[in-house]
């Protein structure tokens, strides 16, 4: 990596880093896989910690769940609108929440003959569509249609999502535990496909238990799988420890389970079960921190000083392929600058005699250095 390229990366406002043992390098990954194979470790539902740091006070997270690319009922037009939205909103980022593909294994419940394309074409098409928004995708979770979850004993378990992900973003087979830092404040979010539990009640209990070993109570739990938009909010008492790890008290925190809708509309399977799958959409979460109004001298032992402020809005209208009014307003506020226009301005500046002379002098200096060396 050249210094120039490194400088480009350092100028990004969002930095993503993964668990050292998991994704840092291929060699380290292989070392971990071989270590597990040689030990008594069981592959229960592991969690991959991911750290995200943003220089901004707000982050706009738009998880994309259950896309079921090119499967029966997949809504390409609406998916492309959401991709455009991601590209046009400067502080927006996303992750794929599993079921990127539809009929990746024999267990799939949707009728493969009703798909818009065959599986091979779906893989090519899926990679093409996601490559456009590659810079906005933080990671990709596996789902049951991607052959990652589901009955391991029966179906073909080479996950096409994992293979496709190599071209897009890091692949997380099961669950991700995100530690997101907005400037100087942090919060946690847990992301899973959703097939680990039968409903949000059960999911919340299971998640809290899984995160306990990391000493974390996530503020947000993202899930999908059921193709329905749901929210379940509850209050937990979180143990607070001092620097020595001793629990000094309990503070209350709101936890929200957010189940995302899908991009797969009506299909034979859903209809046979009486589901209403008409509603395909993406949901955006503007996340920031605010001062807790219940925090005072007398409540400092039971209340956190800052709490998460989550503003949740649908990206698309239900009955038409357009952005909702607030989604438009948000995009105007955070609009990505027109890069083509900026390129033209810069090109004009660089054409000026003064700049041309400076660049020529610079390359001459490089040549002199090369000759000396």
């Amino acid at each position: 990596m050249t210094d120039f390229e490194k400088a480009l990366i350092d100028n990004k406002e969002l930095k993503v880093s993964f668990d050292r043992d998991y994704l840092n390098s291929k060699d380290e990954r292989m070392e971990e896989i071989l270590r597990r194979a040689g030990s008594d470790a069981l592959d229960s539902t592991p969690i991959i910690p991911i750290k995200i740091e943003s220089a901004n006070s707000h982050i706009c997270l738009i998880p994309l769940y259950d896309i079921h690319m090119f499967g029966e009922g997949f809504n390409l037009k609406r998916f492309q609108l959401v991709c455009d939205y991601l590209m046009n909103v400067s502080n927006a980022c996303s992750f794929i929440g599993g079921d990127w593909y539809d009929n990746a294994n024999k267990d799939s419940k949707t009728n493969v003959f009703n798909s818009k394309t065959n599986v091979s074409q779906a893989l090519d098409g899926g990679e093409y569509l996601l490559s456009r928004i590659r810079d906005k995708i933080l990671f990709i979770l596996g789902g049951n249609h991607d052959a990652e979850f589901g009955d391991r004993v029966r179906a073909n378990n080479i996950s096409p999502a994992k293979e496709s992900a190599k071209k897009i973003a890091p692949y997380i087979p099961y669950n991700a535990l995100l530690n997101i830092k907005l400037k100087d404040k942090e919060f946690s979010a847990f992301a899973t496909h959703g097939s680990i539990a039968k409903d949000p009640d059960a999911l919340s209990k299971k998640t809290l238990k899984m995160c306990q070993r990391y000493g974390v109570v996530p503020d947000l739990i993202f899930s999908g799988h059921v193709h329905t938009e749901l929210t379940f909010r509850f209050l937990v008492s979180v143990p607070v420890t001092n620097r020595d790890g001793i629990v000094t008290g309990y503070k209350t925190k709101n936890v929200s389970v957010e189940v995302l809708p899908s991009f797969q509309g009506n299909n034979e399977y859903a209809t046979s079960l009486g589901y209403n799958n008409d509603y395909t959409n993406a949901i955006a979460y503007d996340i920031a921190f605010e001062k807790n109004p219940c925090y005072t001298q007398s409540t400092q032992n039971t209340e956190f000083e800052y709490m998460l402020r989550v503003t949740k809005f649908p990206v698309l209208k239900k009955m038409s392929n357009e952005y909702t009014s607030f989604a438009k307003e948000y995009m105007e506020m955070y609009h990505e600058p027109d890069k083509e226009k900026l390129k033209e301005e810069i090109a004009d500046k660089l054409e000026e005699d003064k700049m041309q002379k400076a660049l020529t002098d610079f390359t001459d200096a490089l040549n002199d250095l090369e000759r000396e060396m």
């Binding site: 006070s57 909010r233 209208k317 660049l359």
Partner: protein, 399 residues
């Protein structure tokens, strides 16, 4: 000594009389003597002998009048209007305050934070649209009944019991707090709607007083309205100038103690009945969130705890799911922003500026790199021209 002797309670009947006196002072107004008498007859079986002697049986027209008073409306006369230039409206909920109840007090009351909580809610309001604050039932609490007076603690000569009059005062205080705080924050278009829930319904039935109606009359403010047609109602929402309408549902009757999603949903339907509306907000549910695929939002309450069966340890109630921004996107189609839309603080503009600078810098680096690379390449090609290349076809290898 004689005075004390004269006023001293000597018998249980006198003590009962005194308790009823306290109950009357705490729960009725001076002009509500008839209601109080009615209460005594219906509740504590202390009907005066002459009341019984002079009573007559009701007739058919009395029955008709009685059932006419029963509210069966499904749509309220009140309407929410989105102005032509307004991109939507703010909808705030303030419910489940349980004024003066000890078993499930109002959140923040202990630390005197209720004003702070109201301010926090109103700070999320988008001033481009109107603000509707719904006081959605279960406001007046349930520990006003006479049994709580009989079992009240007496401390330092004070009976720790709080009747309806004090609870009404608190309600009026909170409504005023919303209006004053809105004024301070520059929120000009605000309306408060009072809507009864299970607790208010019980008070009406037992004491014969419509406290929300009284509060409205005492406040005497055109911005304060009483939705009195029932506990599960549709509200017409109209977008001026476009002809677009929709029905927004408000439901306030919840008594179930289920803590699971399925249990809470079932008990909501049982308590409120079905309501066909394009968007529904349910108040006072034990479980908070959007729990089904339908557009039904169970808002959070001001209660500290969930309603819990006797003998079980109560769980804390979720908070801050009570501010929404609503717009009519298409006929009968609402979009809802959870958490309010007043989120673009001054940091946002500065960060956006910084982002533009970063993008510009990255593009500049990129383009400069391209130019430098191409210039270096030109130099290399020029140097290659200076070198005389031998025709290697004539070179003998090994020579």
């Amino acid at each position: 000594m004689g005075e004390i002797e004269k006023n001293h309670i000597r018998t249980n009947a006198q003590k009962e009389e005194k308790i009823l006196e306290f109950f009357y002072d705490e729960n009725f107004r001076k002009k509500d003597k008839d209601l109080f008498n009615q209460y005594i007859v219906s509740k504590v079986n202390l009907a005066r002998n002459e009341t019984i002697e002079n009573a007559k049986m009701a007739n058919a027209s009395d029955y008709t009048e009685q059932i006419k008073r029963k509210k069966t409306a499904t749509v309220t006369e009140k309407m929410f209007v989105i102005g032509k230039d307004e991109p939507g409206f703010n909808l705030l909920f303030y419910t489940g305050t349980n004024y003066y109840d000890r078993s499930n007090p109002q959140s923040g009351r202990k630390e005197n934070l209720t004003r702070q909580l109201i301010k926090n809610q109103l700070s999320k309001v988008n001033k481009k649209g109107k603000t509707y604050v719904v006081f959605g039932g279960d406001l007046l609490g349930s520990e006003w009944e006479i049994k709580y007076l009989r079992n009240a603690e007496i401390k330092d000569g004070k009976i720790l019991y709080y009747g309806m009059n004090k609870r009404k005062e608190r309600l009026i205080w909170d409504v005023k707090a919303y209006l004053h705080t809105a004024e301070k924050l520059g929120i000009k278009k605000i309306d408060v709607y009072l809507m009864g829930g299970a607790q208010e319904h019980k008070i009406k039935k037992e004491l014969g007083r419509d406290i929300l109606q009284e509060a409205c009359e005492e406040l005497n403010d055109p911005r304060v309205h009483y939705i009195d047609e029932g506990v599960s109602l549709g509200v017409n929402v109209i977008k001026e100038g476009s002809g677009i309408t929709g029905i927004l549902g408000l439901q306030t009757n919840q008594t179930g103690k289920a803590k699971t999603i399925n249990g809470a949903n079932r008990s909501s339907i049982r308590d409120n009945g079905e309501l066909l509306a394009n968007l529904i907000f349910r108040c006072n549910s034990n479980v908070v969130g959007k729990l089904t695929g339908d557009d039904i939002y169970n808002v959070s309450t001001q209660s500290t705890y969930l309603r819990t069966p006797r003998g079980q340890k109560p769980d804390l109630h979720a908070k801050y799911y009570d501010v929404f921004w609503v717009n009519l996107e298409n006929p009968y189609e609402f979009s809802v922003v959870v958490g309010g839309t007043n989120i673009f603080d001054q940091n946002v503009a500065l960060e956006q500026k910084r982002h533009e600078n970063i993008v510009r810098k990255n593009l500049l680096l990129d383009q400069t790199l391209q130019i430098v690379k191409s210039k270096l390449h030109e130099n290399i090609m020029e140097k290659n021209d200076e070198i005389e290349f031998k025709d290697i076809s004539e070179v003998e290898y090994g020579a």
